[in-house]
Amino acid sequence: MSAPVRTLVAWCPDWPVVATGVDLAEPVAVVYANRIVAASPGARAQGVARGMRRRAAQGRCATLALHERDEAREARLFEPVVAALDDITPRVEVIRPGTCALVMRGPSRYFGGDAAVADLVHERLAEIVAERTDVRVGVADGPFAAELAARAANPTRLVPSGEVAGFLAPMKVDVLERPELVDVLRRLGVRTLGAFADLPASDVLARFGSDGLGAHRLACGRDERPPDARRPPVDWTVSDEIDPPADRVDRVAFLARTLADELHRRLGRDGVTCVRVGIEAETEHGEQLLRFWRHEGTLSDAAVADRVRWQLDGWLNGSAASRPSGGITRLALIPDELIAAKGRQLGFWGGETEVDQRAIRVAARLQGQLGADAVLVPEREGGRHPDSQLRLVPAATVELTGRSLDPEPDTAPWPGVLPAPSPTRVLTEPISIEVLDECNRAVVVTGRGLLSASPFVLAARGKRIEVRHWAGPWPIDERWWDPEAHTRQARLQVVTVDGRAHLIALAGGAWAITAQWD
């Protein structure tokens, strides 16, 4: 059994927030799909945490400034940081914007030990990100342990070779970043990586499948997958010439998509996937730019295309010193360190299925064609009116997979809500009507919430229709504490002689049909 490759991981905390360019002492958070993905120390001090809903975070901290996530910007601003390490080793790999890794074997020998390299990397990066954030550097066997070492570092942390298992043992299983697995483990009483590592590998495989086994290998301080000794017989690199040379990202973006498609098709055909993908660009003056991004078989072709775009953005819009001198003439995607594709088992219940993916893709496509407000999905919220129980929000603002809109079981019903069946038509523009009694007098609701007479006829725009059945009035007096938003309503359910059912409401002395059952 060989130990994983000695790896150094450099981590800039709160990178999504740093990329927004604001002062970290201020309460700032970055949101994606209505959830907090990163928060500044200022915001964390007030109780804002990752994974929180937007409203919950605003509830903790009223002055919180929210920014939508912009991964392209994060990647672009991270490029100069990575470029600073290029003369230490040519193989710097971006795990995600804010975190990069390098293999230690060469640099360690050249600079005289792990500690020397770690200090050098820290010094270089601290210089670049100075005053924006700090840098943590961790060195350990394998990228997983190295990243955890970076997170525990202050400012550098070296886990001696062979002591990784001991370093990982006291950590919580949450660091595996596999929410479903972690949930089951926790309920089984397995709370630390050490306890998980103590389980027999064969039992873990039997119970949690190959993904679980990968997690188990990580917990034991080994590589997620056993190293594959096969030499790749084929070159899977995909590339294309660009003519005329492109100096703007949007001109290369389309090609990026095609290349990413092609790469995944080729790899998929041979049943392999890659640990990292190299993005290589050649300029008209013969410069060669190369950067590696972590892949691990988890990125879709669209995600790879995104990374290509971000990388090009980083190169083409970087500082004058690092910018290539000419347009890009050739773009290549190089799969690096090939491993057998195990396939990602999709959940039998829940999880994302093929059907979900198709629907989510079409939602994204239609948003592009019709505008973001034209594609909507329901979201649950509270309220007494038929239209306020569920609200429509643009599909782009929520995570469409794994949602549940069932009312939470322990929530009490809103007082004043009319029981099911709910109306199928909630009129955005209520229809003004008159409600008359048998003697053609207008029906009103008294201060005690009683009707002045039984409703007999509904009249609107010269048309009259007789009431067959009715019930009510159900009064609501909402937001009486706020003179602006205060509403008083009395609602009636009415079935007219044509068999249709309406919800009519009296507010401010005027009757209107607010909802209908069709």
Binding site: R358, A359, L366, S422, T424, R425
Partner: protein, 239 residues
């Protein structure tokens, strides 16, 4: 010795089974057909169906929604019935898209059984209707359209061809769709229950539905069913 006897009894039992088989060959054949249907290759999109809720089964000639078909619903109560028809596929994991209904009451949609977490509401401009429908067909299993304007003949025919190719089901509400539906459901009458004169609350509605259509669906069908029933979901009439 033991062996031969065992073989003999075994042989006798086989004979008995064979005789039994001949006797109930009709039922056996029915069972075989059932097995045949279950193992039929997935490629036969026409034979593939999407389930409908139990109380609505008599409305459909196959007892389910055939993929690639168009269902038309007309009359007062059409929106509720359309959602109730879509509820069957939706509860079994399909996505539903509703195109062009600005006032749709989501509470009712959920109560009728459509899974709200797999519901897309698309509101295109009138000029983008066919574009939106064409994109949704094939990506979403059930598309409900409530056009407020007339759909052109060419658009409708193109859509029908696309449906057959992609295997989605289109449910259209109202009579703005120019081409005849494969399954046409007309609501002849509706009667609300639960509301009195100044008392009670809307509880359920009895719909009298007349079924028609093309091909095997042309045989007239009639069904009385509660849409919505007590609690908001579809319910069969109490016998």
């Amino acid at each position: 010795m033991f062996d031969t006897r065992a073989m003999a009894t075994g042989h006798a039992r086989n004979l008995a089974v064979e005789l039994d088989e001949q006797a109930d060959s009709a039922t056996r054949r029915a069972e075989l057909r059932l097995v045949g249907e279950r193992v039929m290759p997935m490629a036969l999109a026409r034979e593939q169906t999407l389930p409908v809720l139990g109380p609505l089964v008599p409305l459909f000639p196959e007892g389910a929604l055939r993929r690639g078909s168009i269902v038309g619903i007309r009359g007062s109560g059409a929106t509720s019935l359309a959602m109730a028809v879509a509820a069957g596929p939706s509860t079994s994991g399909a996505w539903t898209a509703v195109v062009g209904d600005p006032d749709l009451g989501l509470g009712a949609v959920g109560e009728l059984g459509v899974a709200l977490e797999r519901l897309l509401i698309v509101r295109p401009e009138p000029g983008n209707w066919s574009l939106a429908l064409a994109a949704l067909v094939g990506a979403v299993d059930v598309v409900i359209a409530a056009p407020r304007h007339r759909i052109s003949d060419t658009d409708a025919r193109r859509m029908a061809a696309r449906l057959r190719e992609r295997g989605s089901v289109l449910i259209h509400i109202g009579d703005r769709w120019p081409v005849g539906a494969d399954v046409q459901l007309d609501i002849a009458a509706g009667e609300w229950e639960g509301l009195g004169d100044g008392h009670g609350v809307l509880r359920s509605r009895r719909l009298d539905i007349q079924g028609g259509g093309r091909g095997s669906a042309s045989r007239p069908r009639q069904l009385e069913v509660l849409v919505p029933g007590p609690g908001g979901a579809v319910a069969a009439l109490a016998a």
